[in-house]
Amino acid sequence: MTQIIWNGLFVGSFYALVALGYSMVYGIMKLLNFAHGDLYMLGAFIGFALLTSFSGFTATLSLVALLVVLLLSMVGTGLAGVAIERIAYRPLRSAPRLSLLITAVGASFALEYGMRIIAGPNPQVYPVRLGGSSVHVLGARIGVAQLVLIGVAIALMVTLNAMVMRSRQGRAMRAIALDPVAARLMGVDVNRVIAMAFFIGSALAGAAGVMAGSYYGSINFLMGFIIGLKAFTAAVIGGIGSFKGAMLGGVVLGLLESFGTHFLGGQWRDVFAFAFLILFLTVRPTGLLGERVTERV
């Protein structure tokens, strides 16, 4: 049982990391950014490229070097996210929301198949593998690498939360989501704040990509698709637009899947997770921590 929980938590922390960026972008632009999962893929590949080009180091690769690669990949992915926003989303800011959704799908295709052109269709194997020893806690086998990764994920999320929530930027983001015109009248540079949200959200996805690459070992150009859907699901469970909700949602989804697999078998896992989601939403229509919007008439 503890193993099941642990497995769920571990996967969930990846979902959370990706969902957080998803929720952030949603929170500010009401955009379901279908390209977000592909930024996770992009991050994994940037990390891969960095690691292979410094292959001299890889033999003696220290955790520090890996962290540097992680940070560089985050920056790279963040910039890519900003570029996508600039090219594909900004021109459509005042268009119907669904138009944006379609460009997001377009961006997703372009990223996936652009990467396929560059890196080929075959999976690539990460030059570094985190693995190694594990400890036993309450009957669960917990990898040291897993602990490190969860630690990094938590650190990233906490930093982000502090950056965004405490400062006026967080409020500005919510304000932009509610009324960009009014936000501009308050002196908010909407373009900059949105670019920042994309940078941070994409960087987090990129971090998750590098972490997944170095832990699981195999990356491919379509790896972002499923996790993108999961992140979307997690963000909704948590209450879309809510940062804490996204993190919580990620963990909850991880646990749901873990238990679903255990009790119903792998083939029914997604049915279980989605059925739960649907039932849950009919009871709590705005997710775990979603804003209760009391609408005035």
Binding site: T294, E295, V297
Partner: protein, 304 residues
Amino acid sequence: MSALLDVADLHLAFGGVKAVDGLSFQVHEAEIVSVIGPNGAGKTSAFNCITGFYRATSGAITIAGTDVTRLRPSAVAARGVSRTFQNVRLFGDLPVLDNVRAGTHLWLRQNVFDALLHTPRYRRTEQVATDEAHRWLDFVGLRADRTGPARALPYGEQRRVEIARALARHPKLLLLDEPAAGLNHNEKLELLELIRRIRDLGIAIVLIEHDMGLVMEVSQRVVVLNFGREIADGSPEAVRRDPAVIEAYLGSDDEPAAETGDHEPATATGDGERPTETRDGERVAETGDGEPSGEIDREAGADA
């Protein structure tokens, strides 16, 4: 004669805020009743309760003898109630005519097969809807283009369309929430005349308005709310002289410009007493801590 609308001891609370607190009043057929009161007195909230958008915490609302307290808005509308909103709520991207056709939704008899097969009944009803839309747009005096999107109209025209839409419903009772807000002087005069013509059709009107000129001129009766409770109910003259009303709402004023439709701003009150400061402490309640208990109810009886 029994009342067309009977609001009895209505309460509505949001968390600690008592938006409506024991409101009772009646409206009879073909009567024009104004509801006035300070900002935040609960006027709009009362409208929302009557029309089913908010579910009253307690109390009863009866329309022509039937209890509508727990009905969803469309069901209340089906009982002959029509309304406008404090902020114009048109179907912005739809043609003006379609906006008004919305009023015909409840009484136009047309089913899916009529639509699919374009039966004579389909043709007839569609023409009726169009004619009806024109009829009411003529009635409210809309000058602008009727085939373009409602969003493109100037504000004053949008207000007219909203009223036309409400009228096309063929209501027995029409609730107007600050219809004069944002209108200029001439438009207010036109509005005043329009309200009278509506009443002459036999429709009862409840009017929320801050423009005292308009209120005093057009109303048969004025209900004054403060802190969700009625503090006066009577003829315009009586209400205007009521010290409680002056204190809470009108201000110690020289003379409201009754016939101009423009309210006279109160002269500066020497002691700087503002309505916001006259609240009694008991009501300075905490808000925002809990969820509103007076749930916004848009699903009541949904799957009926």
